[in-house]
C-alpha cells in the first residue's frame, strides 16, 4: 500500500511517514504544499491520502474537491487543527472520508488509515482470506490453515495488495506504483523476484492457492476453486 501525506509541518509529516512505514509496512511519500500534493495525487498511485487542512498553495479542502471532481475514489483522511463543526461538515460533504484533529494519537491515525484503505477496497474485516490463506492486516501476519508463514516485509506487502483484489489481474507496474515510494528504484524484475519467493513460501506451506503469471499483463491470485 502507498500513502501520500500532504503536510507543511515537515517534522509531523516525517513522524507519520515513519510510523506508517514501520507499523503498517506502507510506502509513503510526502508533499509540503497543496499544489505539489495535488499534482502527486493525480498519478493515482496512492491507496490513501493524508491531507493537512491548512496548506500553502492549495488547501486540503481544495485538493479534496479537485480529486472528487475527477471521480478519484482514493480514500482521504484529513488532519486538521481546526475542529469547528462547520469545517468538518464542509470537508466530509466535499468528499473526505474521515478526519482527525491535531494533536492526534499516532496509534489512532494508523488504525484509521488501515480501516480506510480496507474499506476503500471493499473489505469489511481486517482479516482477509483466500483459499486456506488468511492475512491479518492488523498483526501483519499470514497463516495457512492456522500455520504461520514467515514472509519478508516486501512479500507480505505484495500478498496484501493481491489479496485485496482476488481474481483480478494486477500488472507489475501497478504493484511497483503501489508498493514503493519515490525513494526506490523502479525495476519490474524486483517484483518478479519477490513474487517467485512468495510462491515458493506458499507452496512450502502446502497451500494450493497460487499466484499465476499472465504473460504480458501481470499477476493473479488464484485459488483452486477458481481453476476448476
Amino acid at each position: 500500500m502507498r500513502v501520500l501525506i500532504v503536510e507543511d509541518e515537515t517534522r509531523l509529516a516525517n513522524n507519520i511517514a515513519e510510523a506508517l512505514r514501520e507499523r503498517c509496512g506502507f510506502a509513503v511519500d510526502c508533499a509540503e504544499n497543496g499544489s505539489d500534493g495535488a499534482a502527486m495525487a493525480e498519478f493515482q498511485h496512492y491507496d490513501l491520502l493524508l491531507l493537512d487542512l491548512m496548506l500553502p498553495g492549495l488547501d486540503g479542502l481544495g485538493i479534496v474537491r479537485q480529486l472528487r471532481h475527477r471521480s478519484d475514489l482514493t480514500p482521504i483522511l484529513i488532519l486538521t487543527a481546526r475542529d469547528e463543526r462547520a469545517t468538518v461538515v464542509e470537508l466530509l460533504n466535499a468528499g473526505a472520508d474521515d478526519y482527525l484533529t491535531k494533536p492526534f494519537d499516532l496509534g489512532e491515525l494508523l488504525a484509521r488509515t488501515k480501516a480506510l484503505i480496507r474499506r476503500g477496497k471493499g473489505a469489511p474485516h481486517p482479516v482477509l482470506t483466500v483459499g486456506r490463506i488468511s492475512l491479518n492486516t492488523v498483526e501483519q501476519t499470514v497463516r495457512c490453515s492456522g500455520q504461520l508463514i514467515d514472509l519478508s516485509p516486501t512479500e507480505y506487502r505484495l500478498l496484501e495488495y493481491l489479496i485485496f483484489r482476488p481474481r483480478a489481474i494486477v500488472s507489475a507496474r501497478e504493484l511497483l506504483e503501489h508498493l514503493y515510494d519515490y525513494n526506490w528504484e523502479h525495476h519490474s524484475n524486483v517484483i518478479e523476484a519477490h513474487i517467485s519467493n512468495l510462491r515458493k513460501k506458499l507452496r512450502a506451506a502446502g497451500e494450493e492457492t497460487s499466484i499465476a503469471t499472465i504473460r504480458g499483463r501481470g499477476y493473479r491470485l488464484e485459488s483452486p476453486e477458481q481453476q476448476l
Binding site: N15, A19, M54, P56, R82, T101, P103, F104
Partner: protein, 471 residues
C-alpha cells in the same frame, strides 16, 4: 435609575397644554359673560331706579313735600332702595329692609363714590346705583311745576349674576373636558402606532449577538427622518464590531492552530519513539529531535506572549534607548548566521539616536527585521541595515535583494500569523509573528513602519521613530 418614557412625557405634555388652553378659554368666557351680564344688570338697575323715581309722589301738604308711594312700586323683594331729599330727610325706603341694610345704604348717600358701585352688606354683595333725580310736581297749580330734587339709592344683590354666568359657560367647559379625553385617547393610539418602528428597531438590534450579526433596519425605519440616522449608525457600528470580532476570532483560531500543530509534532515524535524498541542511538537521535521541537514551541510561546504584552501593556513613559547601539549589537550577533548562509550583511548607522523604545525591544526590532531579510535571501545575496536622522526622526532601513513578497501578500505582512509562503517560513522556523511584533514595538513608541517589495527583486522595511532626549 428611574426610567422615563418619551411617549408618556409627550402625552402628558400635550394634555397639560390642552388643559391649560381649556382653562384659559373657560376663564375668558366667564369674564366675557360676566362683563356682558354686568352691563345688562346696570341697565336693569337704572330701569328699576327710574321706576322708583316715578313712584315719588306729592304728599299734598302745605310744604309740597314728596314721598315714595309703595303702592305705585313693584320691585323684587330682595332689592333695597332709599330716596332722600337734599336736606337729608328720607322720603322713602324699601319696607322689607333690615335696619343693618338700611344703615349701610344710608352711609353711602353722601360718599363721593361713582354713580355705580359695589357694596357689601353682611354676607351679601350688592350693586348700587346712586343718582340725583328731579321730580316735578303740581304742574297744574304752578306754572312750570315745583322742582323737587331727590337722591335715589337703588341696590340689587349680585349673587345670581355669577351663578348665571357660570351656568352659561358650563357648556363650553364640558365640551372642553370631553375634547381633552378624546385627544388623550387618540394621542395614545397615534403614538403607539407611530412609535412601532422604534420598537421594531430595538427588537432587531436586540437580536444581534456574537453568533448572529444580521442587522437589517426595516424600510419603515429608514423612511423615518428621526430614526434613519440611528439605524444607520447602529448598522455601521455593528459592521465594525463584527469585523473586529472576526479578526480576533481568526487570530485565536490561528494561535490555536499553531499551538495544536506544535503539540501534534511533539506527541507524534514521542509516540513514534515508543512504538517499537529502539537502539540507544535511535533514542538519542529521537531525543535531540524532541528537544528541537520543544525549542520551537517555546519560541512560539515566547513570541505570542511578547506580542500580547506589547499590545496590551501601557507604554512605559521614560523607557528609552540608543537605536544605533542596538543595531550594532544585533548586527554582530547575526554576522555568524549571515556568514553561514553566505550572505553579505552590512550595518551602516550613525548616531546615537535615542528613541522611546526600551533596550530589549529595540534589539528585538532590529533582530526581527534583519533575521527576516537573512531568511528570505538566497546565498550570495546582500542584506543591509542603515540608520540616519531625517526630519528630526530616526529612520532605519533594512533591505535585501532576496525573493521579495508577492504584491497580493504585501498588505497582510503585518497581520499576526500571516505568512506569505507558509511552507518556506515553517522550514525557517517562523510562526508569522516577527513583523507583527515589530509593528507593535514601533507604534507603541509613536513611530511608523512600512514595507516595500518587488517580487523577485528584494524587500525594504522602513522604520521611522521620533527621537527623544536621552535620560
Amino acid at each position: 435609575m428611574r426610567q422615563s418614557s418619551l411617549s408618556r412625557q409627550l402625552i402628558a405634555g400635550i394634555l397639560l397644554a390642552e388643559l391649560a388652553c381649556a382653562a384659559l378659554f373657560a376663564g375668558v368666557a366667564v369674564l366675557h359673560e360676566m362683563h356682558g351680564r354686568r352691563r345688562a344688570f346696570d341697565v336693569m338697575l337704572r330701569g328699576r331706579a327710574d321706576s322708583l323715581l316715578g313712584a315719588v309722589q306729592d304728599v299734598e301738604d302745605p310744604d309740597d313735600n314728596v314721598f315714595v308711594d309703595p303702592a305705585e312700586l313693584t320691585v323684587p323683594h330682595l332689592d333695597l332702595y332709599e330716596v332722600v331729599n337734599p336736606n337729608g330727610r328720607v322720603i322713602g325706603r324699601s319696607p322689607q329692609a333690615s335696619p343693618e341694610q338700611l344703615a349701610a345704604l344710608a352711609a353711602s348717600v353722601s360718599s363721593p363714590t361713582p354713580e355705580y358701585f359695589n357694596l357689601r352688606i353682611g354676607q351679601e354683595h350688592y350693586r348700587v346705583l346712586r343718582f340725583q333725580g328731579l321730580r316735578i310736581i303740581d304742574r297744574d297749580e304752578t306754572p312750570g311745576g315745583l322742582h323737587r330734587p331727590v337722591i335715589v339709592l337703588y341696590a340689587a344683590p349680585t349673587h345670581d349674576l355669577w351663578h348665571e354666568a357660570l351656568e352659561a359657560v358650563r357648556f363650553y367647559v364640558l365640551a372642553g373636558i370631553l375634547l381633552l379625553a378624546a385627544t388623550g385617547i387618540a394621542l395614545v393610539w397615534f403614538l403607539r402606532r407611530r412609535l412601532s418602528p422604534l420598537e421594531e428597531l430595538a427588537r432587531i438590534a436586540g437580536r444581534v449577538s456574537a453568533r448572529f450579526w444580521d442587522f437589517v433596519p426595516p424600510a419603515e425605519v429608514l423612511r423615518t427622518t428621526e430614526l434613519a440616522p440611528i439605524a444607520l449608525s447602529i448598522e455601521k457600528l455593528l459592521s465594525g464590531l463584527h469585523q473586529a470580532f472576526e479578526r480576533e476570532r481568526q487570530l485565536t483560531g490561528d494561535a490555536a492552530h499553531e499551538l495544536k500543530t506544535s503539540i501534534a509534532v511533539l506527541k507524534s515524535s514521542l509516540q513514534l519513539l515508543s512504538m517499537n524498541p529502539r537502539t540507544a542511538e535511535q533514542y538519542q537521535a529521537g531525543l535531540e529531535n524532541l528537544l528541537l521541537d520543544t525549542e520551537r514551541m517555546e519560541d512560539l510561546a515566547v513570541r505570542m506572549l511578547a506580542l500580547a504584552r506589547l499590545e496590551e501593556a501601557p507604554v512605559e513613559r521614560d523607557a528609552s534607548s540608543d537605536l544605533q547601539s542596538a543595531l550594532h549589537r544585533v548586527g554582530e550577533r547575526l554576522a555568524a548566521i549571515a556568514e553561514r548562509r553566505q550572505l553579505a550583511l552590512r550595518i551602516d548607522a550613525d548616531g546615537p539616536h535615542t528613541v522611546a523604545v526600551p533596550a530589549d525591544e529595540a534589539e528585538t526590532l532590529c533582530s526581527n527585521l534583519i533575521m527576516n531579510a537573512l531568511q528570505h535571501s538566497s546565498p550570495a545575496g546582500h542584506v543591509s541595515a542603515s540608520l540616519e536622522l531625517q526630519n528630526g526622526a530616526a529612520m532605519m532601513r533594512v533591505s535585501d535583494d532576496g525573493e521579495g513578497i508577492p504584491e497580493a501578500a504585501l498588505p497582510h505582512v503585518f497581520e499576526r500569523f500571516y505568512r506569505a509562503d507558509r511552507s518556506r517560513s515553517r522550514a525557517s522556523g517562523g510562526a508569522g509573528l516577527g513583523l507583527s511584533i515589530c509593528k507593535a514595538i514601533v507604534e507603541r513608541a509613536g513611530g511608523t513602519i512600512r514595507i516595500q517589495s518587488t517580487h523577485g527583486a528584494g524587500t525594504e522595511v522602513i522604520v521611522t521613530l521620533p527621537v527623544v532626549a536621552a535620560n
